[in-house]
């Protein structure tokens, strides 16, 4: 038995009850004064030219790292994605087995968070701008590869078979039959990846890998809130501009033009794409030169620090069940908070448009704010622990989920909502039954995927999570305990792979329903096999 669709979106919000019940127990309120100062500083950010200069410089580095890491991950991901596609192997060699093996291999780099890649690379090759770029490119590349191969393998193969039986050689047939339908989805997805890369580059900075994140953490730690807000406002502006630009490009290039009233010249889109691609190359070279990224320097490995004899007994005596249980609890709490709160908050503010605008602003802050900074702020008024970590991660992911929900809601269910309103139902009920009920399944399916991202992200709130794998890992890093580090990274990888499998099953179960009607216009990315990863 399944509950009715409108209830589905509200189900995860039930987690609020235990959270609200536990919150008074962990709040100590010692630092409300600081929180007040922090909020007041939002209205009067520092305009000191020195501060602005260093913030702008940091922002430049962060944007540069994001751009280079993103480009690297796309190149890597497209190549590996084609190499791990069953259709490609079957068409070229007749057997799809190698695709399966490559896929399994790619699961390993994907399961390790970019922060861990960054910190490990930092130990291997030293302090270099290229470290952050590579740290983003590796896991993102593996992620893009999975999405590309999934997309390739779910495309209809009728055209391909027709071309093959007509005698076309395998590469040409693959390109002709699968290229055009794949393109819009890849464009839409890679735009989304650039947004992710900007967020990741900021986060890496928080852990000392350069750029604006570094400034944000240092200003927060020295409680220089006005300087902090100069950085935050600037980052917010850049992030919103980037989102607007990508949204526009997505609509222009990735949406089918057949519903458009204006006719577009044949081939114009292809010319634009090629021009954009060609324009990007010199830009990337320029950015790499400005950031002094030297690919050759990455090859100068310094070797690992001379490790003491590995003490596996000590590794085995770590409190593993507790560590894993806390990490899973943190993930589930953060995921259900984010998934449940987004529709609930939208319903609550529906009658007041002004509150809606405020809510969107808050979500934008949540998206841009690296979770470890939120966690540090929360520590002013809450005790460290799983719940504090979950709140920080939940706030960040609420910003991301909320925006996706809003975007999806814009393209779906307007007539139903209007009809319900006209028939006299209240604004909230009309929104819930008119728009959200149609979106329930794809939204929750995306939420299941997001849970698996949150599991990987849980390492970044290690310092306040206090008892999970993440905190143990950061401690092992600062003790240069290679054996513990290895065991913890492996545990993380295994847990993430397990989580990925579970979330895949949940997604399939949610999407495979007898009356699976696609709720929004075709071509929109959510339904493309869950392309929003």
């Amino acid at each position: 038995m399944r509950p009715a669709a409108p209830l589905w979106v509200l189900l995860p919000a039930l987690v609020l009850l235990p959270v609200l019940a536990l919150l008074p127990g962990i709040s100590h309120g010692g630092g409300w004064e600081l929180v007040g100062q922090f909020a007041a500083a939002a209205l009067q950010p520092s305009l000191d030219p020195l501060v602005l200069g260093s913030v702008l410089g940091g922002l430049g580095i962060t944007a540069g790292i994001a751009l280079l890491g993103w480009a690297g991950s796309l190149a890597l991901g497209l190549l590996l994605g084609i190499a791990s596609s069953r259709v490609v192997w079957r068409t070229c060699t007749g057997s799809a087995t190698p695709a399966g093996w490559i896929r399994r291999l790619l699961a390993v780099p994907r399961s390790i968070h970019e922060l861990l890649w960054g910190l490990l690379l930092l130990q291997l090759v030293g302090l270099q701008p290229a470290v952050a770029v590579v740290a983003i490119a590796i896991p993102f590349g593996a992620l893009v590869a999975r999405v590309v191969s999934d997309l390739l393998d779910t495309l209809p193969t009728a055209t391909l078979e027709a071309l093959r039986s007509g005698g076309a050689p395998a590469p040409a047939a693959l390109l002709t039959a699968l290229g055009p339908p794949l393109l819009p989805q890849v464009i839409s997805y890679s735009g989304y990846r650039l947004e992710c890369a900007l967020r990741s580059a900021t986060l890496l900075g928080v852990f000392g890998l350069g750029g604006l994140g570094t400034e944000l953490r240092l200003t927060l730690q020295s409680l220089a809130f006005r300087e902090l807000w100069s950085g935050l406002w600037l980052l917010l502006a850049v992030m919103l501009l980037l989102e607007a630009l990508l949204g526009w490009l997505r609509r222009r290039w990735a949406m089918p033009a057949r519903l458009s009233l204006r006719q577009r010249a044949v081939g114009r889109q292809a010319r634009e794409l090629v021009a954009a691609g060609l324009g990007l190359l010199p830009l990337l070279a320029l950015v790499a030169w400005r950031l002094e990224v030297e690919p050759t320097a990455l090859l100068q490995w310094q070797g690992l620090p001379p490790l003491g004899p590995a003490d596996w007994g000590a590794v085995a005596s770590l409190p593993w069940p507790g560590l894993i249980a806390n990490t899973v609890l943190l993930t589930v709490l953060a995921a259900t908070l984010a998934v449940g709160l987004a529709p609930l908050l939208l319903l609550v503010v529906e009658p007041w448009p002004a509150a809606g605008v405020l809510l969107r602003g808050l979500w934008a802050l949540g998206r841009l704010w690296p979770p470890p900074l939120t966690a540090l702020l929360l520590l002013f008024v809450l005790q460290p622990g799983v719940l504090t970590g979950a709140l920080a991660l939940g706030f960040h992911n609420l910003g991301i989920l909320g925006r996706l929900l809003l975007e999806a809601a814009e393209t779906t269910g307007a007539p139903q909502q209007q009809a319900l309103l006209a028939a006299g139902s209240g604004p909230r009920l009309a929104l819930l039954y008119g728009r959200f009920s149609g979106l329930a399944r794809p939204y929750l399916a995306y939420g299941a995927y997001r849970a698996d991202v949150i599991l990987r992200e849980s390492v970044v709130v290690g310092l306040v999570g206090a008892t999970g794998l993440g905190s143990q890992l950061l401690e092992a890093l600062s003790s240069f305990a290679g054996d513990q580090l290895l065991a913890l990274v492996l545990a993380y990888a295994l847990l993430t792979l397990l989580g990925e499998d579970l979330s895949d099953r949940a997604r399939l179960w949610l999407l495979e329903t007898p009356h699976q009607e696609t709720p929004h216009g075709d071509g929109h990315p959510q339904e493309a096999g869950g392309a929003w990863r």
Binding site: G58, L127, S222, V238, P305, A466
Partner: protein, 318 residues
């Protein structure tokens, strides 16, 4: 899509794309921030640069000011180009020393031992007069109800309180305080919330305890005293409750290959320069004041055995 929308998006794209290209030269934090050189006119790229660094134990503004001065002074005395590379993390400072990205680093006791174990042959150049016998102090918020402690056993009063260390790898802000706490029978899990906080730096610890976000914390005595003098720490809100026994702390650590790179006898010259700083010289006086010391002295490597022992006991050295 309207024309206006299109223009907005195009401008946004341009702005984002040009951002890294336009802004990077201003303050790239991975690159040398304060570069001082003997004579800019004849600076050649072949001339080696002495890259100095420091663990980020205090506010970055102060570090930038202090190490900018140090870079200038060393450059003037030694006749080589000296640049200060800011590092944002204790562990990263150790890593950067091991990988050879930094030539001379102001380390804490623990990070210094970690770095010299990881880089055999690393040379302990100098320490401050106060470092052979260094102290941490435990501080508490006046509203927390924690009273000054008479002896080490009294640390049990901190059980169940919100407590913060400085950085995870700090000697005076974490390692030794944790050692003295465990001697008194206080485990990390005994604090409120089941774990202590890690504020990141001594300044942050003082600010957080003063604000009430934490009931108590442990800081480096020298930073604590200078905060009291400058008025940043307000005695009506935060007070010292106990001073630890002494232990050796900070030191300048140099790469093993300095003589090969900068010429025979360079390490000895470097040591002589640092140890020779005196308050009679106005610039050197400023440096010594920011370091909170009268002068620098040479180091006896054996002193840091105790830190290594404690580090191994706590698990920070393996």
């Amino acid at each position: 899509m309207t024309v206006r929308e299109r223009w907005t998006a195009a401008l946004a794209g341009l702005a984002f794309a040009l951002l890294p290209a336009v802004l990077t030269p201003l303050a790239p934090s991975l690159l040398p921030a304060a570069e001082a050189q003997q004579s800019p006119a004849k600076a050649s790229t072949t001339q080696p640069v002495l890259r100095i660094g420091a663990i980020p134990d205090q506010n970055p503004e102060k570090l930038n000011r202090l190490y900018g001065l140090v870079a200038n002074e060393l450059s003037k005395q030694l006749g080589v180009r000296v640049s200060y590379v800011p590092v944002t993390d204790y562990t990263a400072a150790v890593g950067a020393f091991r990988t050879g990205n930094l030539d001379l680093v102001w380390f804490g006791g623990l990070t210094g031992v970690q770095a010299s174990l990881q880089k055999p042959g690393a040379q302990m150049i100098a320490q401050r007069d106060i470092d052979a016998q260094f102290y941490s102090v435990f501080i508490a918020n006046t509203r927390s109800g924690i009273k000054p402690i008479q002896n080490q056993k009294g640390l049990t009063a901190l059980k169940g309180k919100r407590f913060t260390f400085g950085s995870e790898s700090s000697t005076s802000g974490r390692l030794m305080p944790q050692y003295f706490l465990s001697q008194a029978g206080v485990k990390l899990g005994d604090f409120a919330g089941g774990a202590p906080g890690f504020s990141g730096s001594h300044d942050a610890t003082i600010a957080l305890v003063q604000s009430g976000a934490y009931d108590a914390g442990a800081v480096n005595e020298q930073v604590w005293k200078s905060s009291l003098r400058s008025g940043k720490a307000n005695r009506s809100k935060v007070v010292q409750i106990w001073r630890t026994p002494s232990y050796p702390d900070y030191l300048w650590l140099g790469q093993p290959n300095l003589d090969q790179r900068f010429g025979k006898g360079f390490t000895a010259k470097l040591r002589a320069a640092i140890v020779g700083w005196r308050p009679s010289d106005p610039e050197q006086k400023q440096i010594l004041e920011l370091f909170g010391a009268q002068q620098f002295t040479t180091v006896k490597a054996g002193e840091y055995k105790k830190i290594e022992q404690v580090g191994r006991q706590i698990g920070k050295i393996r």
